[in-house]
Amino acid sequence: MNKENTRCVITGLGMISAVGNNVSECWNSVVNSVSGIDHTKTVDTENCYSDYAAEVRCGDLGSEGGYKDRAVRLCLKAVGEAMSDSSLSDFGGDPRVSVIMGSCVGGVVSVEKYYTEEKRREYIPQMPISAIASQAAAFCGAGGTVTNVANACAAGTMSVAYAADLIRAGKADIVVAGGADSFASVPFAGFTSLHALDANPCSPFNHLSGITLGEGAGALIVESYEHAVARGAKIYCEMLGSGISSDAHHITAPRPDGEGQMNAIRWAIENSGITESDIGYVNAHGTGTAKNDEAEFLSLHTIFDGKNDDLSVSSTKAMTGHCLGAAGAVEAVLAVKALTENTVPPTLGFDDHDLEVLSERAGKLDFCPNKPRSKELNTVMSNSFAFGGNNASIVFSKNEGKVQLPEKRPAIGITGMGIVTPAGNGRESYKASVSGAAPAEGSLFSTVGKTEYDELGLKMSFYRKLDRFSQLQAVSGMYALADGGYPITDENATDIGIIVGTADGSISPVCDFEMLIAEKGNANGSAFKFPNTVYNAAGGYLSICSGIKGYNVTATNGAQSGLFSVAYAADVIRAGKEKAMLATGTDENNEIMQELYSQLGLLSESYVKPYSGSDRLTLSDGSVSLLLENADTAAARGAKCIAFVKGCGSANAGVEFGTVTGSDKAADTAIAAALEDAGLTPSDIGAVIGFANGHKAVDSIEKTVLGRVFGDKLAELPVISVKETLGEARAASAALGAAHAALMLAGEIGESSCVYYKEDTVRGSVSSQGLDNILAVSYGSGGSYCAVVIGRQEA
């Protein structure tokens, strides 16, 4: 890790929101105290108590490339502006360029069109959040790590935080980071059902009667300082450190004591190598709800009172509305503008009486009511707090800061695993199932229920709230902690985090909610169901039931997300942010998923085995969680490592989202990166866990890629599929591949069925004896790939 990598800078900005179609228009509105909130013109508000929204008024979001969801169009607009602002053009598939995008509700507009207009096939690939970063990467030609952060209202901030971490980990030179979300019926009806909308335009840190939804996108070019200087880029500011935490409290309400918020803020300050007094301005989360703003008042006072008597704080949501997954991104853009323009954006909405109340609440904090304020700023912070109890804080500065990376790169051990598959639940159950025969059905389902909840000590008052996606995740996550002998205590709760990987996330709850409001109207959504429409609900529930208070991100970009979670989690541990991480892959199958996959022509009526040359697949589901630990701290607590994560790589080739053909070269890149990260060559690999699922487009890529990577050796190389009898469980299959590799290396699975790619594909079996390193590879729709080397011994 070279020292220069610790310096990250912002070299480009892009933004679209209700107050402008580009950064310049938005900033001009901000400094003129212009609000974008108005009566909605796009969503049906019959019988709803509020009809306010902050909608983008851009007449032309583009139409190139056929149908794309509104969130994707918003994202591309902001990305295009940021690229141009940074004097960048198409990256041509450069693997050193990444795209990380945040979103909360993803393709809800496409979901709404599908259920209320016409069930058109082209809407389906645009529904998942996965579609956003993938299409943004295709748009700008990014060939490196590409994913979405799906942590609701904190997603945009987390994306920017992760962007800098990727650069500091040496995995990228440029990251296009940000977030996008659309205003649509699902979030409007959802927040209406929660009575969380303000009947009037929202008034953060003031009336506290609710939020006003907004929409838009923000994009920032985050770049290594070295790279930016070498190409003579314009540098706005430094991107310093970040803090990401979880509340382990409630799925929608923040902790009243502000503990999670304060952890994120304190970690961001600590990670940046600055002190509280260095910060001149905080772009607060400031949604306008009593629960958020009161917790935030408390957090800000607790952290800054007595340490910083010249702190300005504002919520720009009174102008942009709450842009959900885009909020952190547009607010990061505004924070950078505030810094570079030496201007504190205002918090709108205070009358004379309000100002009196504010002066009591604010103490020495300056909330910059109604009008912007000129102020010499050197360092600014932007905070976001989300459903699921996820908190994120990032710091921008004119100064270099002192972001520290660990001197030594730790080895990463796998010390526990939780496995939920259609064949049964738990590590032992999976081991017993590997020699089983394939079922007859073309669609498979995992089962979790009271037996598992009782075994794991989960109470009905908790699990009654979980949708099935969250149930699968909670059970596999808790199994992994139990399996690894890692009880969560007050002492270690912040030493461990979670990366949930998922392909389709909460698409089913979103569709279910859309069907409900399509039938009963936007005034009649379900407050009980709505929280489960956010993809990070599963990770939030896992935090609540386990007590985990550390890092918490839900990463989604196709099926490979289940293996990518391992790579991401390993990076978090290597960066010294956590001692342990749960890395998971979870996807669900149900009637809604079956309909969508059937419309795509992918659902099979009978079982499809890998390598069978079909044009369909067996849709399956499940959840697999791996407990990864810094091997030193694992040893210190006496934990046995099942195997080790030695190296990880990911890459992207921008093909049409919903397809994979033509993206195979990115798999080569991902594998090469994983081998390099592990310090190994192809000849060190004893077996491969592949990604073939029986669909010929996917299977042919596996064969082509492995042929190129392993050459003549491929004929003797066992290639294992965990989809032989368990179907295509998407992210769950990808994570299961890593688990299977670890169990083979530990000798717990003595023999595995496999294929050998000789002239024909020959079925055989492989003994685990003598295997030292196994390469797990996974694919994702749109052409993203992840590769992880699992080893018997430390790297």
Binding site: S193, L194, H195, H250, I251, T252, A253, K459, M460, S461, F462, Y463, R464, K465, L466, N524, S526, A527, F528, P531
Partner: protein
């Protein structure tokens, strides 16, 4: 009253995920007990009561939500 209580119980079990065998008419609904309903659940109950009986419970005191008996009594007195 008994019909109201049966309907409330059915709603709480089918919509709020509560298991039937632990829910009696006098079981405490909110708080740290085995049922553990919270403010989000109360919104669903309010919406159900309004839709089913035309009784508005928004802003009604907590004592009227203690258990199914209390909610049923409030509905009976206000419908």
């Amino acid at each position: 009253m008994s019909e109201i209580k049966a309907k409330l119980k059915d709603f709480i079990c089918s919509t709020l995920g509560v298991e039937e065998d632990v829910l009696e008419y006098d079981t405490e609904l909110f708080g740290d007990g085995p049922i553990g309903l919270d403010s989000v659940d109360s919104l669903e109950i309010i919406s159900f009561v309004d839709g089913e009986y035309g009784v508005e419970m928004t802003g009604v005191g907590k004592e009227h939500f203690v258990n199914i008996d209390a909610i049923a009594q409030y509905i009976d007195e206000n419908k």
